[in-house]
Symmetry: C2
Subunit: 740 residues, 2 copies
């Protein structure tokens, strides 16, 4: 009986087991796929995968020879190297986009110079045509001598006038306050404060026939600094750089320079019409020390041990010393042989296909071209990008794949005016408009060991902070002071004016995020590790000079490349998060706060004047309140979202992604084909700077002296209404997609 | 033992049962939601739900009083009625969008007229200021007398010149061939062939100081037609209509007329500067019969029993007859008291929320405003829309809900220049850009009993055909001939020139699809049931006259309202399909064919001339081949798609939806702020017409006489390159979103 019972029990157990199997498989299988979700462990795995030494080796390779845009080293050797490296890294696909574009070069056997020309035709005090070779590694036949791209050739001779930074305010002051006439003169301006291209625009506007740009020690070094090669200030260096104030191939505004492109004729290009050339501190002193005319005011003085004077022309003592023939002319002469040339440039684009949403792109970009060796600008960034691609490739090999597609971009010809990135954005505009989640730019990765600095759209600030919090501090002193992450040092050294956060400002122009943000409205971020920016340097001393070499970086900027590694980690973590989390880390509420701050700043600057001309600030106030409510509400909806519902998730993400698009005007800012963002765009008079509410502020600029007060105020009112409309429109994009 | 065995067996069965239960619930539940898919049975249920009698009653209500834009009947009474009807229908939400816009009205106690003015100041042969009331239902104090909107007021007096249709070609012929000077003259033009606003532009361009528009019987009736009220040709009617050639509020180009909007000053509006007024056939004969000058060529002759002459001025016999004072002046005088006025207009927008993708919109729109009673234009369409909304409401009550959101739009002030729809698209541009799947317009639903006619973007032609195939033929004669559906009669009566299909052409302008298609690139369709368009009517005879009444429709156009019902059905079925099927019924391959046909047409018209000026047609050919390949490939991918994968489905649908966006240029067509579509836009010289490759064709127009041949050909080349680029860009949007 017990045997029967045992058999029975066995049968029962078997029966239960059978039943479980039947029951299990009789259940309807999930009809819809379950999508993989974020794998947060990848964050640390990726960081650990990347090595400082690899970045160092990348930088060595990248800087082994000069690699200016349009030339063999840049367009063939490095393009091939990047393709090969990325292929080895194992990313999914690589596409090279070539473009024929207008570049500019000096005449290598007759380089540009400045001199003092005497009445008898003798030229004295000629500036150096080449930068002095101090270390052997600067010695390369392919070094392109100092020049400003897109200067026309010319040999103007005229009296010299000192114009400070050649800002629009400087020229206004020269005219109105100091009564110095610049018409027909050669101007000399210090580098710094604004984009050099705007200096040329202003000089041309005020009638100058030539412009000399020089680096004043006040702006490019500090009193406690030594001189190259003991420290990184080389008085013999000269800052190369473009003068092109719009972006992309100057011959194809708004459209890509593809083979079927139409090109503007040379005569209708909006390039500078006066010769411009850069000189170093060592040469500038020759001319500035001899100038006549009244002394400049205190804030116009540079750091050389001379008396800074306006001119025009040289002081009588110097004229008398030189003039022997009796003709009382001692002029500055510029010899500029720079000419424009069409060349082929290349963008290299690498893809890691998204597992769930391959049609959503997180883009990471850096330019490849340099004026000379470019060890800081941009190869510190390129070396970092290369290691980051290798790191992501290693994650792919572990079986990981991000939710969205990662797009790695190596841009050509950025130095000439963001040409590679602009042409590509123009070409892929429709795809990017529909699909790009964010563009993350690193131009220079490391130009100093002081702190991370970030600029970007307001809605991504928190995502950048969060990424910086995950990265170990590369500075051992900081770590021993208890600041364990990049974020901690950033917050200490660059604190925000409000709140317990690091500072994080809007984007002007000056690097490859511009087309993404300003043509399409793709949320963009620009990351860089800097020197202490409070000491007032216009840029790091060797910027765009022949001295930007591997050894300089290795010796002064980041020995051991730990900071480079940290930059790879913060960039990678930000990209990983944007590419992998189900709900995009976009914070619309921060945008609301940012708008309110911008409104306050506008009101402080121009409020009473605008109100007394009939502009109703309550419209802007009310509009920002509406935006704030919409922003709060979408985040409430996000908090209760069912993220397994693909369509609901995608809907919210699309709204978050599209927010920045809502600030793009269908028409460009007045007179500026390259800019359409109504909240933040480069200032009209300084392409580097970011201006809040740019069209309104531009219309207000110096309004009192405009003879057409009616027309000008009408333009202010028009731009104000366009601004208010776009904020309302942005609020609407955040609201529930069907009104209730 | 057997009892034990039975117990054992029972235990076993219980065990199995227990196991099944355990097994069933131990299975992981589907983690992702299963989305409802198309319910095709709704198609027939919706058709059966709708009733001709309801449409008839709707039309009665809508046409009970004149309802011109900006006035109480239109903006308050009908808006309230629509809201109330839609609320009763049970749709999810209704939003009313008001806009203050510039409209135009005649002076009701001093209506516009034309007369012959003698030297002594006497005016004779004055035209009727009001249309003759023939039936009591035309008698309403709110009838606004014939006028052309946005004419300036004025009383010009001058000799009369007959300018045929006032096309640009007519004026060129007048100038070059017939040597008739129109400067300082009043022109008289027949209505038809082109948009009346363009006639005014041309007349102004050629120096006329006034323009009279009249309906010639050749263009507005047929020999076998009777006269109103026996048939629908009323010689006493006059065609009202706008002269505004751009779209939307003339004061706010490109931006919505919301409360914060900036308005152009009156002096900078681009409205007509010469008085324009319409007259009827009965009046035109008084002036045209007396004209002097040479006889016009055959194709310039109208259908009145007179000798058509150019002028200028009257024939000597008439001058002699009238002139008694000896002064030899007998002039035409126009008295136009029309003025512009700001008024508030309203769009009523109703929503049916999508169950799966609420952020994808299928829009259905019709305008509500009429020049007078508007029984055909637009209330035949409005009456149909109302029944369609009721029908969809009934489906909601059955528990159905479409996959995507349906948006029903009742537009204000279309007659003045598509104002309601344009302002709304301008205001919601960013949301629509991201979310709108298609816009389906019905302006006039029924203007004849001959056949359905459809215009639209190429990619939706097959969807329109498929919808028409599902709708029973409202014509019993056709049914008895075996043509059971709307499609069958359409294919017979308007066959396509190629293939066994009905004809289906591109969209010009002239109704509310314009802003959707031309500003954003939303795929659009325009449906209408027409009279036989081969008989050469410029429009149906009572168009825009006081005679467009309910009884006229009930008596002549669609007794029984069966055609109206068929229109509700085809419109509804097209919308249902676009809103409900998982993969959008967008056919990119048809677009490829359409592009090839357009290229052939361009080549035939201008190919040799363009090639001899260095334009490489192989670029366009190659580009269209690339597009064709991309189109073929996306449909191959669609064929193998896993439509339970939400992200994959959405990706493909987004690509299909975005295709049309790719043809929108970021810059408007040259000199035309309202148009950005590079493949198809209204012709520059006829806003009603659709021009293929409009910017290229406009640049080629009359190119030989341009004194600046270099500049003009450069513009042709520029526009050609922009066209080629956009086709390449469109092809790219269809390619896999990550390159392989």
């Amino acid at each position: 009986k017990s045997r029967t019972a045992i058999l029975c029990a066995i049968a029962d157990v078997v029966g239960v087991g059978l039943g479980v199997i039947i029951g299990y498989f009789s259940h309807p299988a999930p009809a819809a796929p379950i999508y993989p979700t974020e794998n947060p462990t990848i964050s640390k795995l990726l960081m650990d995968e990347m090595k400082a030494k690899n970045i160092m080796n990348n930088l060595k390779t990248l800087t082994s020879r000069p690699h200016i845009a349009g030339q063999e080293q840049e367009e063939i050797v490095l393009v091939d190297w990047i393709k090969q490296q990325w292929t080895e890294a194992g990313i999914d696909s690589i596409v090279v986009h070539p473009y024929d574009v207008l570049l500019s070069y000096p005449k290598q056997n007759d380089s540009n110079y400045v001199s003092i020309k005497l009445a008898n035709g003798t030229e004295i005090e000629q500036s150096q045509r080449k930068e002095l070779v101090i270390d052997a590694e600067q010695n390369d036949p392919n070094v392109v001598d100092p020049f400003n791209a897109y200067s026309p050739p010319g040999e103007p001779e005229a009296e010299l006038v000192y114009v400070n930074f050649a800002t629009i305010e400087d020229f206004i002051a020269l005219n109105r306050t100091y009564k110095i006439n610049t018409v027909g003169k050669i101007c000399i301006s210090r580098y710094g404060r604004i984009f050099r291209g705007d200096k040329a625009v202003h000089a041309e506007l005020y009638g100058c026939i030539g412009l000399i740009l020089y680096s004043d020690p006040l702006d490019y070094t500090v009193p406690w600094s030594g001189v190259y090669p003991e420290d990184w200030f080389p008085p013999t260096g000269a800052q190369r750089g473009t003068l092109w104030v719009d972006n992309g191939d100057p011959r194809t505004p708004n459209y890509p320079s593809i083979p079927s492109a139409w090109h503007q004729s040379n005569s209708s290009l909006t390039l500078p019409k006066i010769p411009v050339t850069p000189i170093g501190n060592i040469d500038a002193i020759k001319y500035l020390s001899k100038m006549g005319g009244p002394e400049v005011p205190t804030d116009w003085r540079g750091g050389m041990n001379i008396t800074y004077r306006f001119g025009p022309g040289f002081a009588l003592e110097h004229v008398n010393r030189y003039v022997m023939s009796g003709k009382n002319t001692v002029l500055i002469k510029m010899s500029v042989k720079t000419t424009n040339q069409v060349a082929t440039i290349h963008n290299v684009i690498g893809y890691v296909r998204g597992a769930v949403e391959p049609d959503r792109y997180v883009l990471l970009g850096n330019h490849r071209d340099a004026w000379v060796f470019g060890a800081i600008d941009p190869s510190s960034g390129t070396a970092t990008l290369m290691e980051l691609v290798r790191g992501f490739g290693a994650m792919l090999k572990r079986g990981w794949r991000p939710r969205r597609t990662l797009v790695f971009c190596s841009w050509g010809a950025e130095e000439y005016g963001l040409i590679g990135s602009t042409e590509w954005v123009e070409e892929l505009q429709k795809e990017l408009q529909a699909r790009a989640v964010a563009y993350l730019n690193v131009d220079i990765a490391v130009q100093g060991n002081y702190s991370l600095a970030a600029n970007g759209v307001a809605s991504l600030s928190q995502a950048v902070f969060d990424a910086a919090k995950t990265v170990s501090n590369p500075n051992p002193t900081e770590v021993s002071s208890g600041r364990l992450t990049l974020y901690d040092t950033w917050k200490l050294r660059y604190p925000a004016s409000v709140g317990d956060k690091p500072s994080y400002y809007g984007l002007g122009s000056g690097s490859d995020f511009t087309a993404f943000l300003q043509i399409i409205g793709i949320p963009s971020v620009d990351l860089r590790h800097t020197y202490d920016q409070s000491i007032g340097l216009a840029s790091y001393p060797v910027y765009h000079s022949v001295y930007e070499t591997f050894e300089l970086v290795n010796k002064f900027v980041d020995p051991g490349f730990k900071i480079h590694l940290a930059m790879a980690q913060v960039w990678g973590e930000l990209a990983r998060k944007l590419a992998d989390v189900p709900i995009l880390p976009v914070d619309c509420r921060v945008y609301a706060t940012d708008l309110a701050q911008k409104r306050d700043a506008l009101y402080q600057q121009y409020g009473s004047k605008m109100e007394s001309n009939g502009i109703d600030f309550s419209q802007l106030n009310d509009t920002i309140l509406i935006f704030t409510t919409s922003a709060d509400n979408i985040h409430k909806r996000i908090a209760s979202i069912d993220s397994t519902n693909a369509y609901e998730t995608r809907m919210i993400n699309d709204q978050l992604m599209q927010l920045e698009r809502a600030f793009i005007d269908q028409n460009p800012l007045p007179g500026r084909v390259a800019y359409r963002h109504v909240i933040s765009a480069p200032s009209q008079h300084n392409t580097y700077g970011s201006t809040a509410f740019p069209a309104v502020v531009d219309a207000m600029f110096d309004i009192d002296v405009d003879p057409d007060q009616t027309g000008r105020w009408d333009e202010v009112r028009r731009q104000y209404s366009i601004l208010v409309f776009h904020i309302l429109s942005a609020a609407a994009t955040l609201n529930p997609t069907v009104p209730t």
